[in-house]
Amino acid sequence: MNLPTGQPHSRPGEAARRFYELVWPLRADVLRVARILSGNFTDAEDLAQQTLLKAFAGIDQFAEGTNVKAWLMTILRHARVDRLRAAAPEGTTVSLDALDDPLADPHTDPAETGAWGNADEALAAFSDQQVIDALQDLPENIRMTLLLVDVQQMDHHEAATILEVPVGTVKSRTHRGRAMLRRALHPIAREHRLIRETHK
C-alpha cells in the first residue's frame, strides 16, 4: 500500500477535488477510530488531523478504485506509532507487541466462565465510554486489531495488510483481544451486578 511521502504533485485543485471526493466523507470514521485508540478527545483530534493532512499530501499516491478506508487506516496507524515514539522518554523503545499478558483460561478465569449469562445483554449495559476506557488497558497492537476487525468491520486480510502482519496473527490477536477486553470489563460488571457471581 502506497503511503504519502510529501506534498501532492498534481495541480492543487485536483488534489483538493480528490480529497473532498474520496477522503472527506470518511473523516468521521477516522476521528472515531482515533478517539477510541487514544481514549480522549484532544489527542484524537490531533491524530485525526495529522492523518487527514497526510492523506491530502499523498492523495496522488492513492490508487482510485482501491479501498480508501483501508488506506486511511494505514496512514492513521503510522501516525499513531510516530506519536507514541515521539512521546516516549528519550532512550527508551516503544513496544507495540505487548503480548505478554497470557490468555485467560476459560475454565477458571471468572471473566471467561458462564458468569456473563446473556453476554449480549450484559455487554450492552456498558456505556461506550466504559468500553473505550477498558480498551485503553489493552496493548496497542491488540487494540488496533480490534478497532479494525470488530469496530470498523474490516475482514482479516484487510486488517493484516494495514497492520503488516500475517492473517493468522490478526485472528489470534482478535481472539485474545476480545478475551482481554472482557477481563478489563469484568470488575465493572461485578460492581454493577451485570453478571452472576460464580467464584468466591
Binding site: A16, L52, H107, D150, V151
Partner: protein
C-alpha cells in the same frame, strides 16, 4: 453458557462470548462524533472544495450567470412560499437525509445516555421544544436540533439491535398532515414510507408529530412507537 475449549483455534467459528464481544465493539463503529473542530482545523490548511466546472470554459460564464440569477429567483420564491405556507412537508427523503447526517457525524450532536438528558440538552437550545417521549428499551446515543423546511424538530439517535434509529419530534401543527392512507397498528394510525433501505413511520400523538426512521422493518418501528411514554 457453555465454556469454550481453551485450545480452540482462531480459524474456528468464534465462541458465543467472542461473538457477543464483537457485537458490542461493532456498536462503537456508529458512535456519534463531533467533527466541527476537526473540520475547522482542516479548513485552515486544506484549500476549499474546488468548483465543479473547469475555469477554461469561459463561454459558459454568461450562461451560468443567467442560470444563477434564475436559480436565485427560484430560491427566493420557494423561500417566500415556504415561509407563508404554514406546516412543513417532512418527506421521507428529507428525513432520510437527517438520519444519515446524524449517523455519519455530519450533523453535530450532543452525546446523551437517556431521554431525560436529551430533553435537558434540547431545551437549552430550544426552550419551547416539544418533550421527547421516553423509549424504555432503546439505547439512547445522542440528540440534536434540526430544521425541516424551516420548522424546528428535535432528534434523538437511538439504537436497537445495534441498528441506529432516528426519533424525531416536532409540534404537530408545524408538520403537514399526510394525504396518503395510513396503516393501523395497535389502535394507532401510522404513515409508512420507504427510501432505499430505510423505513420511516410517522404518527401524531399528544400534539406532537413523531417520526422513526431506520434500517429496520416498519412493523418493528411501529412496535417501538407503540412503547413511547408521553
Amino acid at each position: 453458557m457453555t465454556s469454550q475449549p481453551h485450545n480452540q483455534t482462531p480459524d474456528d467459528t468464534p465462541p458465543p462470548l467472542d461473538q457477543a464481544t464483537a457485537r458490542r465493539l461493532a456498536r462503537l463503529g456508529t458512535m456519534p462524533v463531533d467533527t466541527r473542530t476537526l473540520d475547522h482545523r482542516l479548513a485552515a490548511v486544506i484549500p476549499p472544495r474546488p468548483r465543479a466546472l473547469p475555469a477554461q470554459r469561459t463561454w459558459l460564464r454568461p450562461l451560468r450567470a443567467v442560470a444563477a440569477l434564475l436559480l436565485m429567483a427560484g430560491l427566493v420564491g420557494a423561500l417566500v412560499y415556504t415561509l407563508s405556507s404554514g406546516p412543513a412537508q417532512a418527506s421521507v427523503a428529507v428525513m432520510a437525509q437527517v438520519h444519515e447526517d446524524i449517523v455519519s457525524g455530519k450533523t453535530p450532536v450532543m452525546q446523551v445516555d437517556s431521554i431525560d438528558a436529551a430533553n435537558r440538552e434540547l431545551s437549552k437550545q430550544w426552550p419551547d421544544s416539544p418533550a421527547v417521549p421516553n423509549v424504555p428499551q432503546q439505547h439512547v446515543m445522542a440528540c440534536c436540533m434540526k430544521s425541516v423546511k424551516n420548522k424546528r424538530v428535535a432528534c434523538v439517535l437511538l439504537k436497537s439491535r445495534d441498528i441506529p434509529i432516528t426519533l424525531t419530534v416536532a409540534n404537530a401543527s408545524d408538520i403537514k398532515r399526510p394525504t396518503t392512507p395510513g396503516v393501523e397498528h395497535r389502535g394507532v394510525t401510522y404513515q409508512v414510507q420507504t427510501t432505499g433501505n430505510l423505513n420511516m413511520i410517522t404518527t401524531r400523538r399528544n400534539d406532537r408529530w413523531i417520526c422513526l426512521i431506520a434500517q429496520l422493518p416498519a412493523d418493528e418501528l411501529m412496535d417501538i412507537a407503540a412503547k413511547l411514554q408521553f
